[in-house]
Assembly symmetry: C2
């Protein structure tokens, strides 16, 4: 399936009208990278056609980040100009829409650099964006953008054009653009995810137990942790879908009650580097040992970033009915890979997944938020009630919870 201008416009309309749900008169912040111009322009055009007041494109160049990591003094690498955070907070104050484009443009560009230095520079992630997400003042979404480099990474034996066609074929499938009415298909899938979240909520589990090859991990939950699926609402009542595609149901762990060992079930692609064969041991909520076949130092550096960086801020369950898992493809892009499998995230919690103020104060805080995949059909997930009863949640990748 070739990636034509018409296909791009159809995707852009789904992103603007359904996923981000841009309202007429809104300012739209669009985060992109050099190499993503075609979809960036299609989305900007779709947003203006939808009635957006302004489209504020911010383009982050990972080659410039590489120059910084190569040459800048170590003690400056965590510096972020104050106007970066002020802009993000202003997007919340002005009730803007926010659209981000995932998909690698230069895979491996940072992989030969000192991982301790790489871990110090979190850009393009800006810490204030976590606050804006928690404030629910913006309707936002992150969607995958086809790039030449990504196509080549996934289809190294095809020529550039054929590789792009194949990548687009995959993306249109997982984004349900191969349906006659993609929006209707998404509303159906979202209803199923919301249903699973409601069943989980009804049980008020004290903890989840993950068991599988190399994994024996208990993740405690806060008393008022809620399960959320990808239908979000802003404080003004605008519904939006934060990830497209999305196949997950997620909640907030107790950052002090995570114990055991977990083996990642997929590689984790950080900006410019890939962590393979990750294994993390937790004690009292803290990641006390981090090993990996590749990239362990980058992961350790991330976890040393601040007090909360070594604790969990998210736990998410993904069943096998999603469209990403069955492709059995590593996309080297967290947006897609995390929706292929159950996962946890180190770092900042999404506080809106906690109902009560007292619990919300206990949710994890950090400048980072890094997901890694721990689920597979071989990993069984069991809920543990406050009385210590064990209730099957996911068995062989399927929902087992009545």
């Amino acid at each position: 399936m070739p990636l034509t201008a018409q296909e791009l416009d159809r995707f852009a309309d789904l992103v603007v009208r359904f996923a981000a749900n841009v309202q007429p008169g809104q300012v739209v912040a669009l985060g992109t990278e050099p190499g993503k111009e075609p979809l960036t322009r299609a989305i900007a055009s779709a947003a203006y056609r939808r009635g957006a007041k302004f489209v504020d494109v911010a383009s982050f160049d990972i080659h410039v980040k590489r120059a910084r990591l190569e040459h800048a003094p170590e003690d400056t690498l965590e510096f972020v100009p104050p106007w970066y955070g002020e802009r993000i907070l202003a997007l919340g104050e002005h009730r803007c829409a926010r659209i981000g484009l995932s998909g690698p443009v230069a895979p491996g560009l940072l992989s030969d650099l000192d991982p301790a230095r790489v871990g110090r520079d979190q850009l393009p992630f800006v810490a204030e964006s976590g606050q804006v997400v928690n404030d629910r003042t913006t309707n936002w979404t992150i969607v995958p953008c086809p790039t030449a480099a990504w196509a080549e990474l996934l289809h190294p034996d095809a020529g550039p054009e054929e590789a792009m066609d194949r990548l687009w074929e995959q993306l249109r499938h997982v984004c349900r653009l191969d349906e006659d009415d993609p929006e209707a298909a998404w509303r159906e899938r979202l209803a199923a995810l919301v249903g699973a979240a409601e069943r989980l909520d009804g049980r008020r589990f004290d903890a989840l137990h993950f068991e599988g090859p190399g994994t024996d991990l208990r993740v405690g939950l806060l008393p008022s942790s809620r399960w959320i699926a990808a239908s979000f609402h802003t404080v003004d009542g605008i519904e939006h879908v934060p990830n497209l595609p999305t196949e997950e149901t997620f909640s907030t762990p107790d950052p002090e009650r995570v114990d055991g060992v977990v083996r990642a079930t997929k590689p984790l692609a950080l900006p410019g580097t890939v962590i393979r064969g990750l294994e993390v041991s937790f004690e009292g909520g803290r990641a006390v040992q981090i090993e990996a076949e590749a990239g362990a130092e980058a992961m350790r550096s991330l976890c040393a970033r601040d007090e909360g960086a070594a604790r969990l801020g998210e736990v998410a369950l993904v069943d096998r009915e999603g469209r990403i898992g069955p492709l059995d493809t590593i996309f080297y892009d967290t947006l897609l890979d995390e929706n292929a499998a159950s996962h946890v995230a180190l770092g900042r919690a999404y506080e809106f997944t906690v109902a009560e103020d007292g619990d919300r104060e206990r949710a994890n805080r950090s400048a980072i938020h890094v997901d890694f995949m721990i689920g597979s059909p071989e990993v069984q997930v069991t809920g543990i009630t406050r009385d210590g009863d064990r209730v099957p949640v996911l068995r062989d990748g399927a929902w087992a919870l009545p």
Copy 2:
């Protein structure tokens, strides 16, 4: 001369170390566009090697601007998100360096659009940048960036590679990169320009009289208008060269004493549109009639932007010893074309070219600043003293002022 990575690095070092004069520890704001990645990255790398604390790249996509001009409601086209101006003001507060890259990436992209709508959207120009220039809180420069589209525009009969080689040959000549020591060559030329400015300052002319084909224009000067050449100093004493290349000496007109008619001697390239055969009549400082062979409406729309948009904010003299004029080439880029010939600018004045507070308050204010070229070897420039004496300033393109 092929544009190699080594050539780019050599140019980037001249831009960072000489023109912008980036200081170790400074934040560098770098304004660029999609299509300018190679020089952007070379400059970022040069800045970090020089000791910059951070390089803040802002990339403006004229294709997104086109989508806005096509689809957004007319009454929103002057809207600029408040954080755009706040960022510029923060660059001043934090004493940053600023580097901008000129050179078209998509010539004519806006030329089929309604010029009245085009004139309402001044981006990427942000009004606050005029204040920061006047505050002299940033060391800044604008330099030309070779692009594929620019190469094709100037050398339509050559193939892409050959066209780029020829454009680079022109740019390296006008930027004096073909000298063994480009910085020394520039210091010599700047000394000559500063000398001309000092001789003009010594005369304290009341007005300048431009006479040539289609031109008979008197441009009044304020009593304390000063002549400035391209060696600037920040309030902290950092010397910088705001334009590279630069061949001009400029001052501030009296916005109420400009009378007569002036014919532009070169086409004027605005973002996405080209004004040809421009002729402007002034009465009492105001542009009362604007005609052109092409693009008159865009120019009229610009002049209607605000009260000061139809009055002059700059008058600049360029002699024929510069390197741009002798090439007899229209570059379709104001940075280069304005340095080929004497020119005036509609809109905002550079207040630092006025010595006394009372006069400074009379200098022109506007959201726009648009240069157009009025000089040529056929246009004679005469100074008029307060006593009405006439003193030759430029004759046949050469300085005539002893």
